[in-house]
């Protein structure tokens, strides 16, 4: 049995997708979390001064999407063929870009300015993306982003949009009924529900 140790802050952030994949597939792993104040202690042990890092029988892998893709592939959530795998990659890359887009918002300490940047982000980046995404979901016609069954791409969208609605309200997905349905579907998967109920409560 392979031993997985996922090393990340005690946050959802860029570590959460790997956790969701492992919980969805009911794969045991060491969910190693540390607080922000402890970061300097762990930073030098990482390959590139960043987390998350996944240790697979002690061998380190860095980069959140490389980690999540590896786990998805090892545990049957990557897509049914090469093309589906690439489509899933594409969607997860879109989420990566959206996560990066939230950083200036998160790091803005002035509340008024933060609100302004957020509105701009929703209007210029999130909403145009959601418009395209609805079209893709309708085109695929299965309720899932890729193929006929759940992939890590669906978990990635849940992982981003669930906290978004938590923080900014249901209206985020007002014009995206298909995505809303998908996010709700993922939220109600028993393994996901159980994990979400029992995981540490964190702001991000």
């Amino acid at each position: 049995m392979v031993h997985y140790k996922l090393i990340y802050f005690n946050l959802r952030g860029r570590g959460e997708l790997a956790r969701l994949i492992l919980h969805h597939q009911e794969v045991a792993f060491e969910d190693f979390r540390f607080e922000r104040e402890e970061w300097t202690k762990y930073k030098t042990g990482t390959p590139f001064g960043q987390v998350p890092v996944l240790e697979v029988d002690g061998k380190p892998l860095a980069q959140s999407n490389a980690i999540a893709r590896y786990l998805a592939r090892q545990h049957g959530l990557a897509g049914q063929n090469e093309w589906e795998q690439s489509q899933a990659d594409m969607y997860v890359d879109c989420i990566y870009d959206l996560i990066s887009g939230t950083r200036p918002i998160i790091h803005e300490s002035d509340k008024e300015k933060q609100k302004e940047i957020l509105q701009k982000f929703l209007k210029e980046t999130v909403n145009p993306h959601l418009e395209k995404l609805e079209q893709q979901l309708i085109k695929n016609g299965t309720g899932f982003l890729v193929g006929k069954s759940i992939t890590w791409a669906d978990l990635a969208y849940y992982s981003f949009f669930s906290p978004m609605t938590e923080r900014f309200g249901d209206s985020v997905m007002d014009n995206s009924p298909h995505l809303k349905k998908l996010v709700e579907h993922v939220a109600n998967i028993p393994q996901i529900k159980k994990y979400v109920e029992t995981r540490p409560k964190t702001t991000l």
Partner: protein
């Protein structure tokens, strides 16, 4: 052989389509290298899956996102790694470069020349220098001359594209002084016959606008 059509802006050459062009060139695979002017973009944008380029058309189906495209091509043409662990490591390195491309966008788009110079200096010191040191350490650990396993992967091409074809061209090699293994790697990639063939063709066909 599938028909590949790679779509991107016509400038700059070190943009997000270059890695895919290098992968295809190194693998000796033909492709349609479609470049469009910025004024054409408003008409093209709505036809793309997510309003971004590069996109890859493969026998009529469309893939978006630069690293997804590059990974797809790398896997199809033997440049992705020899097993799933190596593929993951190659993904990791490609993601590093993706982050570095995002980070350099800030100084790249700055218009004020004085501010631009300062931003680039800080970028080299705060972002590039630590990363170069970290990669040098990984190259030492792997000890094959390549980033992943014991042969060329798209990870090496990605590092060549960024560190040689972009940063070295821009700043010279001084920043690689303490990273002889990384320097040797990018030089080795630069000297590959198919890479040389591609860059010679590219530079002759698409002269770079001086920044």
């Amino acid at each position: 052989m599938p028909v590949y059509k790679l779509h991107y802006f016509n400038n700059p050459r070190q943009g997000r389509a270059e890695l895919s062009r290098l992968i295809l060139s190194q693998a000796g695979v033909e492709f349609q290298d479609i470049r469009f002017a910025h004024c054409e973009w408003p008409a093209i944008k709505p036809t793309t899956p997510f309003g971004h380029v590069p996109i890859l058309e493969v026998d009529g189906r469309v893939l978006a996102q630069s690293n997804t495209i590059a990974r797809y091509l790398a896997k199809k043409h033997g440049l992705a790694g020899q097993d799933e662990w190596e593929e993951a490591l190659a993904d990791m390195y490609a993601d590093n470069i993706h982050d570095l491309l995002n980070a350099v966008a800030v100084p790249f788009v700055e218009k004020d020349p004085v501010k631009k110079k300062e931003l680039y200096q800080n970028f080299m010191r705060i972002t590039i220098a630590p990363h170069v040191a970290a990669v040098e350490k990984q190259l030492k650990k792997n000890n094959t001359g390549y980033l992943v396993g014991n042969q060329l992967t798209w990870a090496d091409l990605a590092y060549y594209a960024y560190f040689s074809d972009f940063l070295e061209v821009k700043f010279g090699s001084a920043f690689l002084k303490a990273a002889p293994r990384l320097k040797a790697l990018i030089d080795r990639v630069k000297a590959l016959p198919n890479v040389q063939k591609w860059t010679a063709y590219r530079d002759a066909t698409y002269p770079e606008d001086k920044e």
